[in-house]
Symmetry: C2
Subunit: 334 residues, 2 copies
């Protein structure tokens, strides 16, 4: 078994530049003279960096969330990701692979060029994902959780039907009496956010309902983003909060404004957090089925690694589930 190929430092030494310059040259970032960029890339190619063809097997899969939204964050602390991570670990181990999870932190980027893995699971890869570019340059197989921004013909990704799910949630809220449902969304640049927000806008347009998107911020634990909307005379009478911690933020804001749920405000949250079931009132949740996503994604990635190509490129769609609880039931049903 030969080693995992040249490192950034190997290329830097051979090209007589700094490792930062190598990183910029390979990523297409920074301000480099064209000649320097070309020389680094030629050197990297000469050393076999990113070469396609039979590669050393590490029996290791990588897993990373690459929507950073500007700063490091603890994705394993979010129920969706921790449940996906546990299931992906079991699935990888069952196939005899180790699983490496990377910090969701731009400071981890040097790792991307040297990481010894046979393939990567990228979760929520955003438009212009530099990590993805580095992996593609190395010729590493990638399977996505969430449709990538610019899929290639042979890409494989696992996703839910976010349009259908969003419409089902809004139809459910309307059936429970909502006339002005707001969307709590807009964080991150990955496909999920775009798909949900666009489906919401379309649904509102079809019904002639004004669309109101309240921006989500993970640090806004008291839900201050809702203050203006909840104080307005035409305030929303329902909220679909599309990220895991969002429901708690909505409830905190509603309590501050003296609005009861579900009497004055219906609430649905996309979440895998079991705590919503124990909340008073119990909160209706949408599950995206992360355990199933993990199993399908690991299976697809191992298939590509072991056969050299995807059996069938494109999307593997995993069903979602709506768990209706008190927070979104009409007054006569709870």
């Amino acid at each position: 078994m030969p080693g995992p190929g040249p490192t950034i430092a190997d290329i830097a030494r051979a090209a007589e530049v700094s490792t930062a310059t190598v990183s910029h040259a390979l990523n297409g970032t920074g301000r480099l003279a064209d000649g320097t960029r070309r020389r680094v890339r030629d050197t990297a190619a000469a050393l076999g960096y990113g070469a396609r063809g039979p590669r050393t097997r590490t029996r290791t899969l990588g897993l990373a969330v690459t929507t950073y939204a500007g700063s490091a964050w603890d994705f394993a602390g979010v129920a969706y990701f921790s449940r996906l991570l546990t299931a992906a670990t079991s699935a990888a181990h069952a196939r005899g692979y180790a699983l490496t999870t990377l910090p969701a932190d731009r400071g981890a980027e040097p790792l991307w060029h040297t990481l010894a893995v046979d393939g990567m699971l990228l979760l929520d890869s955003p438009d212009g994902d530099l990590v993805l570019r580095a992996l593609r340059a190395r010729g590493l197989p990638v399977v996505f959780d969430g449709r990538p921004a610019a899929p290639r013909p042979d890409d494989v990704w696992v996703d839910n039907d976010h349009t259908a799910t969003t419409r089902a949630v809004l139809d459910h809220l309307a059936a429970s009496g909502a006339r002005r449902p707001a969307l709590h969304s807009g964080y991150g640049r990955e496909h999920y956010t775009a798909a949900v927000t666009s489906a919401y806008a379309q649904w509102c347009a079809e019904r002639g309902v004004p669309a109101l998107v309240i921006p989500f911020d993970p640090a806004d634990t008291a839900g201050h983003a809702f203050d203006a909307a909840f104080a307005a005379p035409d305030r929303p009478d329902a909220v679909y909060s599309v990220y895991d911690p969002g429901g708690h933020q909505v409830l905190a804001a509603a309590a501050r404004h003296g609005i009861r749920t579900p009497q004055g405000l219906l609430l649905v949250c996309a979440s895998e957090d079991a705590g919503y079931a124990d909340h008073e009132p119990a909160v209706t949740t949408v599950t995206l089925n992360p355990e199933r996503i993990a199993v399908v994604a690991v299976s697809a990635l191992v298939g590509i690694i072991e056969s050299g190509q995807a059996e069938s490129p494109g999307q593997r769609t995993v069903a979602t589930g709506l768990r209706v609880r008190t927070s979104s039931r009409p007054p006569d049903m709870y």
Copy 2:
């Protein structure tokens, strides 16, 4: 950054032997001529394999369960390990490290010699652990969850006080009326099983109570191991089941024998599985606090990696908790 050091294949080529011979020579296993073993080890040393001193940083921690009990198993499917894994992932990422989890499978052993990590968390390392021997040969820092079988003076491990916890559980059962508590234990060869079983025997001896250890088997979902004991006239009136799935096995066996809990049988299970709280009757559990164990272990390991030595060798003790529920309450209290 130089590469991660010579691989088994590099050593095999240089010493002109097979990779299996290298593995045997470095592990001290197999039947090799002394000259061959010496030549392989000298070659490995000459190539810098396992050399101490400043090593290449991979910014990656490894995590593995090394009590295999003879076959591959899905440790991430057990609540204790999945919760520890999630917390270890968050803690590693917060320090800027990736985290690699290895399959609990003897077939993964080739990985141990080449794995590119800065240090390892070993969970439930048993007596004679070959993985530990391979890591020690490479000079890799190791922190243990669970006291290792033969600690070295500079070893660091995180553990609970299993003697005190077991005595507290048995005292609780006795206070609830138990006169013949049985122990459901005996699986695996790691410290936890030995410590709990020994504390149980001691407690029984002190009180002149007969000790009855029912062997746990993960495949025994119906709890057939209890059939003989539950059919006997002097059957146990309480069980402390010391592994996560054991409580369900005890309840299945009790139901088959027409024994109600807690009226005819008190039950406590060491488990992090939230399902026991929702069971009818709700099952008393002991939590070993895996999230806290993970945080303490990651912090200790990163400290050793970054400073080159343990600040204070020995045990870090993490508190346990007893969540008393219906299954172990005396008849007049539920």
